[in-house]
């Protein structure tokens, strides 16, 4: 049995508190808050939920903790964790569970207090005897080395990388929920503190708290609910490595495979996608994923983003919430990509709303360009 196009529908989406949350909030508090808000958005209640899909680096057994917190002993659970793309994979798993009748209403949720407790405490890094002795500043150094290869092979420049950060910031200035509130220039990015050459602090994602949830149900059940349905049209995943030293090719990511799977399932091609939500943990990510998901040829990503092309005044709408670079990045950002894509398809994005959105591609990235997962979403016109 394969996943059926549109068999699962996202009917609720919400952030928890994000940015800097109240003292002593737990990741589970943020999950619960996100779930409560997303259920309210959907017009459903906790008594309707019988599927829990969750991940956080701050709870070793997050599905167990969440079942306890919510008092849902009978829920179908899945706490697959492959870094920031975990939630895109949860969507595929939730679709499978809904289609198989294992649950009827699923929530996909995340919570992190990374800013409050510190990055090291929130996400302790495992010792790798083949990497740790060299003290790479992970994850930044891994992405920096991928950027070094992209620059070497294709002539990509630091200015190209900076274009990505500036576009994200320009979008963030249209999003009241975004962490960053001040304009950013190419020069600001280039002159910022170097972290891991060629990436400065402005090429790197934010370190914030945050969480949220989306609610999925079957296409039949969605018809009776209050919000415009957002259909799961296609999913894909590819996990090519865990450590950067084992990445098969530093300039070609698993997004090539995960994207191809999702496009095929959705019956869509890149030119038919209205809005893009690409996991921008670092500026090189956006360039790699624009290439690997077919929006420009391999190697052209740097030149493609020149002149604000992916910013609010450009011709391709990418990361309209401001992205992990300027809106919010609590460590595993993938859930926020889904929330923004849902809102764009629904037409709820206010000043940053893109006109006439029927389709959105959501691309999650986990680890160090390791776990790639793509979800294509569509409004009623796509069904």
């Amino acid at each position: 049995m394969s996943l059926t196009r549109g068999s699962a529908v996202i009917v609720g989406a919400a952030e928890s508190d994000i940015g800097a949350v109240a003292a002593l909030m737990s990741p589970l508090d943020l999950m619960a808050q996100g779930i409560q808000r997303a259920l309210e958005d959907a017009g459903l209640g906790l008594q309707d939920v019988d599927g829990l899909f969750c991940a956080t680096t701050q709870a070793r057994t997050s599905a167990m903790s969440l079942a306890e917190y919510l008092g849902l002993p009978d829920a179908y659970t899945d706490s697959t964790i492959v870094g920031g793309s975990s939630f895109e994979i949860h969507v595929a798993h939730a679709q499978a569970a809904l289609q198989a009748g294992l649950c009827k209403v699923a929530v996909v949720t995340y919570g992190s207090t990374q800013r409050t407790v510190g990055r090291r405490a929130a996400s302790a890094r495992e010792y790798n005897p083949y990497e740790t002795p060299f003290k790479p500043f992970l994850p930044a150094s891994a992405y920096a080395m991928a950027a070094s290869r992209h620059m070497y092979e294709f002539g990509t420049t630091r200015e190209h990388l900076a274009e990505v950060a500036v576009a994200a910031r320009d979008w963030a200035l249209l999003n009241p929920a975004a962490w960053e509130k001040k304009p950013l220039s190419i020069a600001d990015v280039l002159n910022a503190r170097m972290i891991s050459d060629p990436l400065t602090v402005r090429d790197c994602c934010l370190v914030t708290d945050g969480g949220g949830a989306i609610v999925l149900t079957t296409a039949d059940r969605a018809k009776s609910l209050q919000k415009k349905p957002v259909y799961v049209l296609g999913c894909g995943q590819s996990i090519t490595h865990a450590s950067i030293s084992s990445m098969p090719d530093l300039t070609h990511t698993g997004a090539i495979a995960s994207g191809a799977q999702a496009y095929q399932a959705a019956g869509l091609k890149p030119s038919e996608i209205d809005v893009l939500a690409l996991y921008d943990a670092f500026t090189i990510n956006t360039i790699l994923f624009l290439e690997d998901l077919g929006f420009c040829p391999k190697g052209e990503g740097g030149r493609f983003v020149e002149g604000g092309r992916i910013g609010p005044k450009g011709d391709l709408a990418v990361n309209t919430n401001g992205g992990g670079l300027s809106y919010c990045h609590p460590g595993m950002y993938g859930l926020f990509l889904l929330i923004e894509a849902v809102r764009q398809v629904r037409g709820e994005c206010g000043a940053r709303q893109v006109a006439d959105v029927d389709t959105a591609i959501v691309h999650g990235n986990g680890g160090v360009l390791s776990a790639q997962a793509t979800v294509i979403l569509g409004g009623p016109a796509t069904m």
Binding site: P136, S148, R149
Partner: protein
């Protein structure tokens, strides 16, 4: 597969203690394997055999880490001539002067306290 008397990592470290950079090959698939394992990736074959590298390679990717305190240092991925890639650093050169494509030569960074020896690289004498 019989019980493992010595782990892949322990064997790798024993080679480093002798000044050797070791890697594995799978005769059944002709694959070169690094990091060391018990099972050959993709094929599942348990026929992995140890080899010792000549210790010459090429910088595949490089970065200079700029810590908030202390001097910048290099981290690089090295393509070793026998056909495997590993993380290391290039020493005896400014961290930002390390270039992709540069030829490099292996040496052992000796054990320090609890930390076992590990492989580092220096610019190769003759550019190849």
């Amino acid at each position: 597969m019989p019980p493992a008397a010595v782990s892949p990592l322990a064997t790798y470290i024993q080679h480093l203690e002798k000044g050797e950079l070791a890697y594995q090959v799978s005769p059944s698939s002709s694959q070169v394997v690094f990091y060391p394992r018990l099972v050959c990736p993709k094929t599942g074959a348990a026929d992995l055999q140890w080899r010792v590298s000549k210790g010459l390679g090429t910088v595949h990717a490089t970065t200079a880490v700029h810590p908030q305190q202390g001097a910048a240092y290099n981290v690089a991925l090295i393509d070793v001539d026998e056909g495997f890639r590993l993380m290391s650093r290039v020493e005896d050169i400014e961290p930002t002067a390390v270039k992709i494509g540069q030829r490099v030569k292996f040496r052992v960074h000796p054990a320090e306290g609890d930390e076992p020896p590990y492989p580092v690289f220096t610019p190769a004498e003759s550019a190849a």
